[in-house]
C-alpha cells in the first residue's frame, strides 16, 4: 500500500546542531505512528518539516505518492494539520473564531464572514466527535483539555486527513487523556493518518500501530504492534541506548522531626471573583523529606504554590521557612531565605525565553559576590558556571549566548533545574518538574530531587502524575477544592487506590461521618 505521507532522508541543521540526520518516516491512513525519543532528539523538528513550518536541507516529502514542497499554508491545502506542543490559539477570541481563523466561509459579498454556515459546520463536527464545547466561549476561559479539543476541531474543519500530535497529553489530566484517546481512535477509524509524539511509553503501546524511535537526530529503531515487538521495555531501551532501564524510585524514610516549611491556617481567595481557593491549610515539610501534593489539577495546587512562593498574598495564615516567618515578605526575600522554585510554566515564569542561558542561570543572583564585583558582572565566572551546569545537567544543544527559546522543550526545563538546584535551596518547590521530559531526563530529575532530600533539604513536590507522586514522595497530601482531603503516610504501590479516592474528594466512610458530626457542632 502506498503511504499517505512519506519522508525520505530528511536532513535539517540548526546552527551548531544537526536536528535531523537522514530521517525516514511515513504515515498511513487509519494508522497511528508514534514518534518517541529523548529531549532534543529532533521529533518536533521533523514534524514541523512535515507541517511546512521548517524547510528541510536535504531529503524529500511525498504526499500520496507525489513529491511536494510547501509552506504552512500549502500544508493545510494538502490536508496536514498539527496540534502543537504550545497551542496556537488566540485566547481573546471565541472558540468559533479560532476555528475558522484563516479559513472563514464567506457570504456572497466577498470578505464578509458567513458566521451562520461556520456555526452549523462546527456544531456538526463537535457532535460527530462527541465533544461538548460552546462555540461562543472565549478560549481563555477553557481548560487545557478543552483547548486541545479546539485544536482538533480546527484541524478537522479544514478537512485535514493527516494529523500531527506533539506531546498532546503532557498537559492533560488522566481523565482528559482518556477522552483524547477515544477521539484519536475515532479519527483512526475514519481513515485519518496520525503522527503521535509522546514521552509516555504506556500511551504509545496503548494507541500506536507502529513506532519510530529517534536519538540525537537519527532513527535508531522501528517496530510495529502487529509483530508484537512494541513493548515498553524495547521502546525505553532503544530510546536511551541502554540494555536495561528502570525508573528511579526514592527510598522512603520516616518523616523527620525538624520542620523546614511550616504553614498554619492558610486562607486565600481569587482576587477577581473573591471565591475561596485555599481554605485553612495546615501542614509542614520536614528536613530531608519529599512531601508530595497530589490531586486533580485546579483544586488549589497552583494557588498554594503561589502563596508559598510569594507571588500572591494570603488572606490569613502564617508561612515560615526554617523557623523564620516569611508570610509578609516578597519573592526576592524568600529566595534569599532559601526557597527554590521549579515552576510549572517554563515559558512564562520559568525562564526568560529571549535571554541567553547564562543570563537565565544568574538571573536573580546577578548581584551576589559569586557573579559580580563592584556592580559589574564577572562574565568569566558566569560563563564558567554556565558551562559547568550545561555539562552537569546535560543540557543538549546548550551553549553560551544561545537564547533559551531555541532549546528543545525538555532542555529548557533542565536550565530551570540547573539554576534552582545549583543554589542549594532549603526548600525546593517542584511543580510538575518532569512534564514533557523523556524517561532518561525524568530519571535525571528524580535523582536530583532525591539528592536534595539526601542533602537534608525539604522538597515540596506538586504533580498530577500519580506514578511520580508514588515514586518520589515520603508522604502525600491530596488536595480537593482548596483543602486536603487526606494524608497518606506510608507510601507504597498500594496507596494508589486510596489516593484515587481522595482525589475525588472521597474520604473513607467512618472518617467522613465523624467529620460531619464535629463539623456541625462547630458551625453552630
Amino acid at each position: 500500500m502506498e503511504s499517505l505521507v512519506e519522508m525520505r532522508g530528511i536532513v535539517k541543521e540548526f546552527p551548531n546542531i544537526l536536528a535531523n540526520d537522514k530521517v525516514d518516516f511515513f504515515l498511513d491512513g487509519g494508522k497511528v505512528h508514534a514518534l518517541v525519543g529523548e529531549n532534543g532528539a529532533g521529533k518536533t523538528t521533523l514534524m514541523r518539516i512535515m507541517f511546512g513550518m521548517y524547510r528541510q536541507d536535504e531529503g524529500e516529502i511525498l504526499i500520496a505518492g507525489k513529491r511536494q514542497s510547501y509552506t504552512v499554508a500549502g500544508a493545510q491545502k494538502l490536508g496536514i494539520a498539527m496540534v502543537h506542543q504550545n497551542f496556537m490559539q488566540i485566547p481573546q477570541m471565541s472558540v468559533l473564531e479560532n476555528i475558522i481563523l484563516g479559513h472563514a466561509p464567506q457570504t456572497k459579498a466577498r470578505g464578509i464572514i458567513d458566521y451562520k454556515s461556520a456555526r452549523t459546520r462546527i456544531q456538526k463536527l463537535l457532535q460527530d466527535m462527541g465533544m461538548k464545547l460552546n462555540p461562543d466561549m472565549l478560549v481563555q476561559r477553557l481548560s487545557v483539555g478543552e483547548r486541545q479539543k479546539v485544536e482538533i476541531i480546527k484541524a478537522l474543519y479544514i478537512g485535514a486527513r493527516i494529523l500531527i500530535f506533539d506531546e498532546p497529553t503532557a498537559v492533560l489530566t488522566p481523565q482528559e487523556s482518556g477522552e483524547l484517546f477515544k477521539i484519536i481512535n475515532q479519527l483512526k477509524s475514519e481513515g485519518k493518518a496520525i503522527a503521535y509524539i509522546s514521552h509516555k511509553l504506556n500511551e504509545v503501546t496503548e494507541i500506536a500501530d507502529m513506532a519510530t524511535v529517534m536519538r540525537r537526530g537519527k532513527v535508531v529503531d522501528y517496530m510495529t504492534r502487529e509483530s508484537g515487538e512494541m513493548t515498553r521495555v524495547r521502546l525505553a531501551t532503544s530510546m536511551v541506548g541502554q540494555d536495561e532501564f528502570e525508573m528511579v524510585v526514592s527510598e522512603k524514610k520516616p518523616v523527620g522531626a525538624e520542620n523546614i516549611l511550616e504553614v498554619k491556617n492558610l486562607w486565600a481567595s481569587d482576587p477577581h471573583t473573591q471565591s475561596l481557593k485555599i481554605k485553612g491549610l495546615n501542614f509542614s515539610v520536614a528536613k530531608g523529606e519529599i512531601l508530595g501534593i497530589g490531586g486533580v489539577e485546579g483544586n488549589g495546587q497552583q494557588e498554594l504554590i503561589e502563596l508559598i512562593w510569594g507571588a500572591t498574598k494570603q488572606l490569613e495564615g502564617e508561612i515560615s521557612l526554617d523557623g523564620k516567618d516569611i508570610s509578609h515578605t516578597g519573592v526576592h526575600e524568600r529566595r534569599e531565605a532559601g526557597l527554590g522554585y521549579i515552576s510549572e510554566d517554563r515559558m512564562i515564569t520559568g525562564v526568560s525565553a529571549e535571554a541567553s542561558i547564562q543570563e537565565n542561570i544568574v538571573g536573580g543572583k546577578e548581584s551576589s559576590a559569586e557573579f559580580s564585583r563592584a556592580g559589574l558582572l564577572r562574565n568569566g565566572a558566569i560563563n564558567d558556571k554556565t558551562l559547568a551546569l550545561i555539562d552537569q545537567f546535560d543540557i543538549r544543544g546548550g551553549r553560551l549566548n544561545l537564547p533559551v527559546k531555541s532549546l528543545s522543550g525538555g532542555n529548557m526545563q533542565k536550565v530551570i533545574l540547573a539554576r534552582e538546584i545549583s543554589r542549594n535551596p532549603k526548600l525546593l518547590i517542584a511543580a510538575h518538574p518532569t512534564r514533557g521530559l523523556d524517561i532518561g531526563a525524568i530519571n535525571f530529575v528524580r535523582e536530583q530531587l532525591i539528592a536534595q532530600k539526601e542533602k537534608d533539604a525539604a522538597v515540596l513536590l506538586i504533580t498530577a502524575d500519580l506514578e511520580e507522586l508514588l515514586a518520589l514522595s515520603d508522604r502525600i497530601l491530596v488536595m480537593y477544592e482548596g483543602e486536603f482531603s487526606g494524608e497518606v503516610r506510608n507510601v507504597s504501590e498500594e496507596s494508589i487506590q486510596e489516593i484515587g479516592l481522595l482525589m475525588g474528594g472521597i474520604v473513607k466512610d467512618a472518617i467522613a461521618k465523624e467529620n460531619g458530626g464535629k463539623h456541625e457542632a462547630e458551625a453552630h
Binding site: 464572514i113 495546615n282 486536603f484 465523624e514 467529620n515
Partner: protein, 326 residues
C-alpha cells in the same frame, strides 16, 4: 451661545480627530503604537490645501492628501516590517520630517510662509440634509456640515463591522493578538500588517484634510497636538472603534467649550487643559476603582475568616480529618 450651537460646534470639531483616531486603531490593533499620527495629520492638512490649490477642487485636494499620506505610511510600513526598524523611532522621524517639510515647502508651492488662505470659492460645500434639516434641534446639530463629517460619523460603525464581521477584521485581530498563531493557520500576516498601517495613513491624512479644508487655510503646525489627542482616544478605547468615537465626542465637547467660554473671560490656558485632565481621569479611574473594590473585598473576607464566620467555616469539608492528626 446655546447648547445646540455648542453641540453643532462639537460635531465640527470632533471629526478631524475622530478620523485620525479611527485610522490609528488599525495600527494599534497590530501592536504598532501609532505615534506618527500627528505627522500624518499635519501632512494631510498641508497636502489637502496644496491639492485643492493645484486642482481647483477641495474633493480632489482631499483625495490627494489621503493618497499621499497613505504612501508615506507605506514607507513607514516598509521600514517597520521589512527592515525591523523600531516603530517609535520611525514615527518620531515622520513627525519631525513632516513638521519641517510643511514649513519648508510653503515658499516654493505658495510663495508665502507661515499661513496661507485658500480662495473662498474653494471652500468645502456644506449640505442641507433632506429630513434632518426640518427636525428642530437635530438640524442645529447635524445639518449644514461638509460631506466628510457625515462619512466620519458613520465610520466607527463601519469599522466595527469590518473588525467583527469580515475576514480581514478577523485576520487583523488575530495578527495583533498572537501573530504566530495567525501564521500557523496560514494567514499572510505581512499583508495584514501592510494594509493596517496604510489604512492608518489614509484615514489620518483625511482627518488632516478635514481640519485644514473646513478652515480653508493652512497654518504651520496647525494640528496643534490633535494627533496626540487621537492617540489618547485610542488608548482609552483599547482599540474599540465605537468607544474611541465616544472618547472623541468628549474631547470635541471640551474643545467646543474652550472656544465658547474663553470668549467669556475664563483663562484659556486652564480650559485647554480640560480635555487632557479628563483623558487622564478616564484612563486612571477604572483600574483604580477595580483595585479599590478588590482591596475592600479582600479585607472583608479577611475579617470574616478572623472572626470565624460560620458560613466560611462551613465551606470546608475535610478540615478536621487532617488537622486532627497535627
Amino acid at each position: 451661545m446655546n447648547i445646540t450651537q455648542l453641540l453643532g460646534l462639537t460635531v465640527r470639531l470632533l471629526v478631524p480627530t475622530l478620523l485620525v483616531a479611527l485610522g490609528g486603531i488599525f495600527s494599534f490593533r497590530i501592536k504598532v503604537f501609532p505615534l506618527g499620527l500627528e505627522g500624518y495629520m499635519l501632512a494631510g492638512c498641508f497636502l489637502a490645501v496644496t491639492g485643492t490649490y493645484l486642482f481647483g477642487s477641495p474633493y480632489l485636494g482631499m483625495a490627494f492628501a489621503a493618497i499621499l499620506v497613505m504612501l508615506l505610511a507605506l514607507i513607514f510600513a516598509f521600514f517597520v516590517i521589512e527592515l525591523s526598524v523600531n516603530p517609535v523611532i520611525c514615527a518620531f522621524a515622520i513627525n519631525t520630517i513632516v513638521a519641517g517639510m510643511t514649513r519648508f515647502l510653503m515658499i516654493p508651492v505658495f510663495g508665502s510662509s507661515g499661513r496661507i488662505y485658500l480662495d473662498s470659492a474653494l471652500a468645502l460645500p456644506r449640505f442641507q440634509v433632506p429630513i434632518i434639516k426640518s427636525i428642530p434641534i437635530v438640524a442645529d446639530i447635524f445639518n449644514n456640515h461638509s460631506a466628510l463629517v457625515y462619512v466620519a460619523l458613520l465610520l466607527p460603525f463601519v469599522i466595527q463591522f469590518v473588525y467583527y464581521k469580515t475576514n480581514y477584521g478577523l485576520s487583523l485581530r488575530a495578527t495583533g493578538a498572537y501573530e504566530e498563531a495567525a501564521v500557523a493557520v496560514g494567514i499572510s500576516t505581512r499583508k495584514v500588517r501592510y494594509i493596517a498601517l496604510m489604512t492608518t495613513g489614509c484615514l489620518a491624512g483625511l482627518g488632516g484634510a478635514q481640519l485644514s479644508l473646513t478652515a480653508n487655510l493652512f497654518n504651520v503646525g496647525m494640528t496643534d497636538g490633535r494627533g496626540f489627542t487621537a492617540l489618547a482616544a485610542i488608548v482609552l478605547s483599547a482599540g474599540e472603534p465605537i468607544r474611541a468615537f465616544l472618547g472623541c465626542i468628549l474631547f470635541g465637547l471640551c474643545d467646543a467649550l474652550v472656544l465658547n467660554l474663553s470668549s467669556e473671560g475664563i483663562p484659556i490656558q486652564f480650559l485647554s487643559m480640560l480635555p487632557y485632565i479628563l483623558a487622564i481621569l478616564f484612563a486612571v479611574m477604572p483600574p483604580v476603582i477595580r483595585k479599590l473594590s478588590e482591596r475592600t473585598a479582600f479585607s472583608k473576607l479577611q475579617l470574616r475568616i478572623r472572626q470565624n464566620d460560620p458560613e466560611i467555616l462551613a465551606s470546608r469539608a475535610f478540615h478536621h480529618s487532617v488537622n486532627s492528626e497535627e
